[in-house]
Amino acid sequence: MNALLIAAIVAIASPSAAPSPAATPGYVVHIKDFKYAPTPLKIHIGETVKFINDDDEPHTVTATDKSFDSEALDTSGSWTHTFAKAGTYSYFCELHPYMKATVVVTGATK
């Protein structure tokens, strides 16, 4: 949530910047039927992903290296994260650890 706020503030504070995909959550990952989709999700540094739980069960979006963690997302709950560094981020659901997916972050957008 903080990341989203910061992204929004940055977008407001620098209107002269080129159209920035970070200004809105350009990517959405849905959690449905105990699966994250799409995966792998390919994005660029500084871009933001919104994760939405469409299941009746709670889920989490938790990095395997614990570098990010949504904590519990109940039904219809969502969580937004901005990826600041390049890399391949594996994540899973703490409640159903066999649910796994990946976000691939590459160099900054043009």
Partner: protein
Amino acid sequence: MKRSDFLEHVSWTGAGIAWTLSASGLMTSVADARGMKTGALSFVQISDSHIGFTRPENPDVAGTLKKTIDDINAMPVQPSFVVHTGDLTHLSKPEQFDTVKGMLSQLKAPLVVMPGEHDVIGSPDNYNAAFGSKDAPQGWHSFDMNGVHFVTLVNVFNFEIDGKLGQDQLDWVTKDLAAQKASTPIVVFGHVPLYALYPQWGWTTEDGAAVLAQLARFDAVTVLNGHIHQIIQHTEGNIKFATAASTAYPQPAPGTADKPGPLKVPDGQLLGVLGYRTVGLAPTAPADVKDHSLA
């Protein structure tokens, strides 16, 4: 209930838990004081109360937990203790821990608890604030009562793949069990099933086999788990396994649905699939496991 009353209940519960976890001798003396013969005792297992769950499969999980507690308190001979095998809460929220702790403090018998994965979402901090003990900072512990050795395992803190105990806990339990005689009855508690019950749905403890190998040398072992919201009994050699019904909602039998999760049963049938378990232990007989529905 007023906040001040509630806090009194909480402090009472907290004292009860610390005492249960830390002073096994005291537990034994309490059992003796109730006139139980050495070598024979009974306890109750409840599980998966999911306080905070509000969906149609059971819109009143507090009500069904209260009924469970009332049924146990009405037993003519009170159990030596009640063990809750985890998933006290649905989403690890402080107010959910407040509610479940206040409710469980109404039990007449002492309480033994351990976390399920729903109790440690994000971190174990909220669970520890409610139920943690300085004497068992990582949750796992053992105690002896009437000649029976009880071991409580925590297989949700290292939850990367399935249930997992982790090396620290394996080292601890190895040492703990090595000190026991083969003739001592052993009872093991944990949230996630300790054997590969249905790994496709995560219903297994990844490193559970290492503990089961050490349990094989004992004459009689009973392993009691929760997590899967249904009663499944299983035997491997001298080890008897039993998973417990939930006090909140059922889940599908392994492989009978696309995925695990809350199962909606027809109206009027919910109490029949929820319940608690009594376990009687005598020196020479196998554990007497009886499941009781709330219906």
